[in-house]
Symmetry: C2
Subunit: 379 residues, 2 copies
């Protein structure tokens, strides 16, 4: 039997940490006092405390390693999350910072359908980071949005997606706008001979989401933006697995998982490994030095989890967003390398009135640092 | 146009709080710099900062009130959450502590199908808190579980549910166990002339969840336990709305939303109002003085949000769990009153080897403090 290995950072006194670690292992598996389980349950089901080490000299912060039998997750995402952190999220001072899954668990997750390679095949661009932008702000007439996406594609942009605030309650209004923006991008693509992609935002009620995804499939729109924590972690996995569309994951609400420093799940485990298990193809996270509190080290760890080998799951395209400016393209290029998607929204729209020229200028800055190769897009 | 009124607690210096509050209002609605939106967008779409007040003398903590136009939520739960906290969850020191919804938004949510009144009708018990227990630990043979649920029902218990760790990967194994435990409860009900309910845990993959819920409907099982944050907030709302079954909400993983004191969403808004919008009929939360860090004041606030008037949404049965003991039934009776469901798991199973006698003893303690009325269960 293989095991799931988890590492936690725990706030505790030295006197209490051993009992505390054991309590976590019990809480997350059987949730009863020791008197109520048998030796067999203790051996096969209760989590096993593998190690307990102090993280500081004062012995107030601890690294606790606990392993769990692989069969307990059932290979299902909700049960895996319940197992590795579940009830322990309700204790102060417990944070999941690492999760290593055996192949017996990983093989139950198909992972990204496109991933880095699949997205590149659709766009036909290799050797440099992709350049992405955002359709916003909500409340702008569709004509103006058409102009933005058309000029972005004409300027050489690779992918433009709706803002997650851009939500039409009405299904027909959603369809009309999606097709108009798709057509605007296509008109530019016809001129450039390249293929820029347009992804609408998919949110709202679950049934409506399914209907909208079906519409995209039937109308030559290759992908979409979704916010997994709004729709649901398992629900997002289900929606992605159900249809051959590129899924771009947005972190709205997801800060509840990782922003607290002492609780929740680390940014890299959540936006890296858990997104990958969901099957997200492009993971949006916040670039360091932006308006949110992500550090370069945290961003590097997210990227590592998205791209490193993980069973047979395809690598995910990291998409740092927020805070990209002309003067930090150098830093972003260094930090993320060629297999990334640089997302620039407001800073691009605000750079000049001419979105085409702005896109060209940003893209040129990226191209200077990489060895771009383009091929005919597939499909 | 009516407005959604939200209150946040924000960590900030006095010098930065005004700009910070405005930045939140912009971030959650249009997410672009001010130069990029028109006066019409500012008036109709951007959130409006209603007030900013210090919470401490040092002026390091602030109460910020922001209102949003009702139409921005679209009456859909994912868009509502995106609007009221979305990207702001990624900032340190911002916590949503109140959310008041106008009837134009509330009317889009059917809410609980059963609620307090519906659950009471199924069980036929009025005038006192219901007594609930848990089927656990995982790894126990089904025969032993049959004995537990049979004896609990015979002792007068009202509702017994699976532990959220109790997950059969195999569909047939799930069905067999669910029917056996239903039958064991029914045998006791035939003897007592009362109706104790048994709720299986529904987790795992989304499609599997739908299949299992259908099985319950077809097999006279009236409700289920679900962990909304594992399955998904909107996905849970969808599953509940789709089938006439009693939904009991479990907080596994949900601690990420509320355990941090400075970020996320307060316990009462999440486990109270947001659970109610999802349509949860019975909301499990952690009783004060248990092994988790819930205070009596926080529990009272949760209960208030579950039971108080909220548009046409039915009141939800509060279900304090964890830490219930013989010696704090007095405190729990005082804190929660008659319209609650007291959940006692390990402490009941560990009270004596005789679950029937233990249940009777706990129930007697509850009955002494209330004026019980029983009627024939409906349906």
């Amino acid at each position: 039997m293989k095991r799931i290995h988890c590492t936690y950072h725990v706030l505790s006194s030295a006197a209490e940490i051993k009992a505390g670690a054991r309590a976590m292992a019990v809480e997350q598996t059987v949730e009863v006092i020791e008197a109520l389980f048998t030796p067999e349950i203790n051996e096969n089901i209760v989590g096993r405390v593998e190690s307990v080490k102090p993280l500081d000299e004062e012995q107030t912060r601890w690294e606790v390693q606990i392993s769990f039998a692989d069969h307990l997750s059932g290979g299902h995402l909700p049960q895996l999350l319940n197992l590795v952190i579940g009830n322990s999220t309700m204790h102060s001072g417990i944070r999941l910072v690492d999760m290593e899954l055996p192949d017996t668990v990983l093989s139950r997750f198909p992972g990204p359908q496109f991933g880095i390679a699949g997205v590149r095949r659709l766009i036909g661009v290799y050797g440099r980071p992709l350049l992405a932008s955002v359709v916003k702000p909500y409340g702008t007439p569709t004509e103006a949005f058409e102009k933005i996406v058309y000029e972005f594609a004409l300027g050489g942009g690779d992918l433009i997606k709706d803002d997650q605030n851009l939500f039409d309650v009405d299904y027909d209004a959603f369809c009309r706008r999606a097709v108009r923006l798709r057509d605007a991008v296509d008109r530019a693509n016809d001129k450039t001979g390249r293929r820029c992609l347009y992804f609408p935002y998919i949110g709202g009620q679950f049934a409506e989401t399914e209907r909208r995804l079906d519409f995209l499939l039937e109308n030559r729109i290759t992908g979409y933006l979704i916010a997994p924590l709004l729709m649901g972690i398992e629900a997002t996995r289900h929606l992605i697995a159900d249809r051959p569309l590129v899924a771009m994951g947005h972190p709205s609400l997801a800060g509840v998982v990782f922003t607290s420093t002492d609780e929740g799940i680390s940014k890299d485990v959540y936006l890296g490994t858990i997104y990958r298990l969901m099957g997200i193809d492009i993971s949006i996270f916040v670039n360091a030095h932006g308006r949110f509190s992500f550090t370069r080290e945290q961003c590097r760890k997210i990227v590592n989890r998205l791209r490193r080998p993980l069973g047979d799951l395809a690598p995910v395209l990291p998409c740092p967003a927020g805070g990209m400016r002309f003067d930090n393209i150098e830093q972003m290029s260094e930090d993320y390398g060629e297999d990334a998607c640089l997302l620039i929204g407001g800073a691009l729209l605000g750079y000049s009135d001419d979105v085409e020229a702005s896109t060209r200028a940003f893209l040129e800055e990226v191209r200077q640092r990489f060895d771009e190769k383009t091929v005919a897009p597939e499909g």
